[in-house]
């Protein structure tokens, strides 16, 4: 019997209910995993809220859309700006009620529903020891030797891949398809998600990989490895902002509000750099960890509003597909 209880405990996904009220937060798997920021955030919030914060992982937006008004989520975290139009149209989300002026994003944020909690920029990451003369502008990348091999993510299955096609669209506009045709011979392969691409890059399979401006920080802080660099392009970098939002149908509105307010605190923001390996959305640069302060970041930031992103997405993906299928 003892063995059975043990086995059941391992397999059962329902936690013993404590007396404290439960705040259910839907989050992407990477966020709530033990190697993501989730556990520290949970511990820090539970210290002050007298509640039980539970992350439920999975594909956040698909789930919310499938569940509709019956969703048990109080808050969602980890949505991305390029897909929020669909989320907003469901009418399931309430105002976040936080002061947008506290944000330290490289652009002005006015959205009253989706609250940024971290950001980063798409960038090509390389190993400076292996690639001595890495292209330092988009133009140089396009005109580099075809021997240069780059791995990117598929915009149809990956959010960073989508950011890349929007990035190219933002820089080159009508010329985007031409640019993709010129880039095609340098693209070694296209992967389903970020992990596959970064894994291949780490194996030494390609010279550059589509990742984030903050990726080198992980190698510096966690591994003491200074060789990984993000090429900063003067044409500008596409901004990726991750968002949180409260659900209208929450049965814990006060607790949900408390959590959104917690997102804006220094406690939360300080956890972002070295747990999420991205930039905090509401923290002055001087407060960032040393490695992040020293990180080369783009001066020019490109960004599409969710309306623009939604309109351009289909076109940009199709241009990419056509050019790379030739």
């Amino acid at each position: 019997m003892k063995h059975f209880t043990f086995a059941a405990g391992l397999l059962s996904a329902s936690m013993a209910l404590a007396d404290a009220p439960v705040l259910t937060v839907y989050a992407p798997d990477y966020f709530a995993s033990e190697w993501g920021p989730g556990p520290s955030i949970e511990a820090a919030f539970e210290k002050e809220c007298n509640c039980d914060l539970q992350f439920k992982t999975g594909d956040v937006l698909s789930r919310i859309i499938l569940e509709g008004a019956r969703s048990e989520a109080d808050v969602v975290i980890g949505l991305n700006t390029d897909v929020t139009k669909k989320a907003r149209e469901t009418g399931l989300f309430a105002a976040h009620g936080q002061d947008n002026s506290q944000l330290t994003l490289p652009l002005t944020w006015t959205d009253q529903v989706f609250l940024p909690f971290n950001y980063g920029h798409t960038a090509f990451v390389y190993n400076a020891e292996k690639l001595r003369e890495a292209p330092q502008s988009f133009d140089a990348l396009i005109h580099s030797n075809d021997e240069l091999k780059v791995i990117i993510q598929d915009p149809r299955s990956s959010i960073s891949g989508l950011a890349l096609v929007l990035w190219v669209k933002a820089v080159f506009g009508e010329e985007a398809e031409n640019v993709w045709e010129k880039l095609a011979p340098k693209i070694l392969t296209v992967t389903k998600g970020w992990s596959e691409a970064y894994g291949l890059f780490t194996e030494g399979e390609a010279d550059m990989v589509l990742s984030y401006t903050t990726s080198p920080a992980y190698h510096i802080v966690a591994e003491g490895d200074l060789t990984k660099k993000a090429a900063i392009f003067p044409e500008g970098h596409y901004l990726m902002v991750e968002l949180a939002a409260k659900l209208k149908g929450t049965d814990n509105p006060e607790l949900a509000d408390a959590f959104l307010a917690f997102i804006m605190t220094d406690t939360f923001q300080n956890l972002i750099p070295e747990e999420n390996w991205s930039l905090p959305a509401a923290l002055e640069v001087s407060e960032w960890p040393q490695a992040f302060q020293e990180l080369p970041l783009p001066e020019k930031v490109l960004f599409y509003s969710e309306e623009e992103a939604a309109t351009l997405r289909g076109v940009a993906i199709e241009e990419w597909r056509r050019a790379l299928s030739k």
């Binding site: 397999l11 499938l66 299955s157 390609a206």
Partner: protein
């Protein structure tokens, strides 16, 4: 073998488990499906690569299985077991292993360029096929090997005493077996490759290698277009069922004949034949084991430093695997018929993502999907393994019925006695192999629980993905070694049990 009610119940359960979710996804959508140029291109590529992959896997499996069937050497069982390993690896890990050998800076290209040749790129259709053969050659080999070892030894002896030439032996003894086994092996691999996604895309080198599964993923996760997802899922299902039906139809003739169920003593064979077999086995080992060996070497060092949570996840995965194994065999035994084999194919015929979304939609009004994530994983694993298990068990069950049913009926044996004395001794071996196969199959499909996987109760493959998702590529490699060794151990334990003292 089993009473009809069992057959109908098991068949209905499996069909419902697959078809209901598809229907639920279909019903959920409020728009009509629209297939554009991109979707048709994806469908075309999917069919092409699946046909080629299945053909090549079976084509190469033929000489390999034949060589393994007639060669006895020290460590043969171990080799056969390890040859099965690629099949059980999480996709992303297998890709990294293949890249280490065939990638830009892989061993193959290092040797190749050292001889002055131009570097060969793995990326393209050749890469997709290479990977699919890597995954499925072992499966085809095992199915064919079972075919060879199930040829009644009387036939082979008769052929020998009649002094048949190699060609004559092939026509009279081996050909009838192949006619039955090959279409079945071909069909199952074809169906597996139909739902390929990450492998096809990564090694295919870009959007040229877009499969239906990617279109489904895009429809569900980005476009929230459930009609298109259901439509594509339905197309996948139709093609799969068609393939299964054709295979079953082609494999209908039974030329095995009766034998006295005795094992075949080793006979002296010509030196050339022995050399040829040895060479084939060596090449196969190099091709299949090298990527795994490299993975193991890179990952083994960090094995003991894996955090406890990874070990707990591993234990959880083992329990799920065992549960799935029991469930799968319970479903498989009554389904060892022709129709059963077609129904069994359903398990791998529908996209895991559609299946998961459908299950989510169905259970959502009644229970919290998070609470049953692991149970769903268990059931899906059981149903996913069904086609493989059926292909191993069915020929044995049918042959045993044909050969011994009349005798046992005339002896007046009851159902239990029949099972105990007629079926059990003859099925123990394929049962052990099947149990090994089910428990060792990828422990927890991630696509299925994409909507409601629980990070706190993660399985081992999910942990590996989490590690990769947070830059910890080295730890992920160690996690993969743990997964590989656990899977192989489970497989070995069951397969060993099946072989017993090798009396049968």
């Amino acid at each position: 073998m089993a009473p009809r009610t069992f057959q109908i119940t098991a068949g209905a359960a499996v069909a419902a488990f697959v078809l209901f979710p598809l229907w639920a996804v279909w019903r959920h959508s409020d728009a009509l499906a629209s297939l554009g140029e991109a979707e048709w291109a994806a469908l075309w590529f999917t069919l092409k690569q699946a046909l080629l992959s299945a053909f090549l896997s079976v084509f190469f499996a033929l000489p390999l299985a034949r060589a393994l069937a007639r060669t006895q050497f020290w460590g043969r069982q171990f080799v056969i077991m390890v040859l099965g390993a690629p099949f059980i690896l999480p996709v992303i890990v297998a890709i990294l292993g293949l890249i280490a050998v065939f990638g830009q800076n892989g061993i193959f290209n290092l040797l190749w360029t050292a001889f002055g040749f131009e570097r060969i790129s793995i990326y393209g259709l050749q890469g997709v096929l290479l990977a699919h053969v890597f995954f499925n050659l072992p499966l085809a080999t095992r199915m064919l090997l079972l075919g060879w070892t199930s040829i009644p030894s009387e036939r082979i002896r008769l052929a020998q005493s009649l002094g048949l030439t190699a060609r004559g032996r092939f026509c009279c003894v081996e050909w009838p077996m192949l006619v039955q086994v090959v279409p079945s092996a071909f069909a199952v691999i074809f169906v597996i490759c139909l739902s390929s996604f990450a492998v096809a895309l990564t090694l295919g080198g870009g959007p040229r290698a877009t499969t239906i599964e990617l279109a489904i993923y895009q429809a569900i996760r980005f476009e929230f277009d459930f009609a298109t997802a259901a439509m594509l899922g339905f197309m996948q299902l139709t093609v799969s069922l068609l393939a299964a039906l054709i295979a079953v139809f082609l494999g209908m003739t039974n030329g095995f004949g009766f034998g006295l169920d005795r094992s075949l003593p080793c006979v002296a064979r010509p030196a050339f034949e022995q050399f040829w077999d040895g060479m084939i086995i060596t090449i196969a080992i190099l091709f299949l084991a090298l990527p795994l060996a490299i993975l193991t070497i890179t990952g083994a060092a960090g094995l003991l430093e894996l955090p406890p949570s990874v070990w707990v996840a591993a234990l959880r995965s083992v329990l799920i695997a065992l549960g799935a194994g029991v469930l799968c065999l319970m479903l498989a035994l009554p389904l060892c018929t022709r129709i059963g084999e077609v129904i069994g194919t359903l398990g791998i015929a529908v996209s895991p993502l559609v299946l998961g979304t459908g299950i989510f939609l169905i259970v959502r009004p009644y229970v919290n999907p998070f609470d049953i994530a692991l149970i769903v994983t268990l059931c899906v694993n059981a149903v996913l393994s069904l086609p493989f298990v059926l292909r191993v068990l069915r020929p044995n069950v049918e042959q045993t019925s044909k050969t011994y049913l009349k005798l046992s009926q005339s002896l007046g044996l009851g159902p239990w006695a029949q099972f105990r004395w007629v079926f059990w001794p003859r099925l123990r071996r394929p049962l052990g192999f099947s149990a090994g196969l089910v428990t060792a199959l990828p422990m927890g499909d991630l696509g299925v629980i994409a909507l409601f996987g629980d990070a706190e109760y993660a399985t081992l493959p999910l942990k590996i993905y989490q590690l990769m998702g947070s830059y910890r590529m080295e730890q992920a490699a160690s996690g993969a070694v743990l997964l590989l060794s656990l899977s192989l151990s489970l497989f070995w334990i069951f397969d060993r049990w099946g072989r017993g003292d090798a009396a049968h």
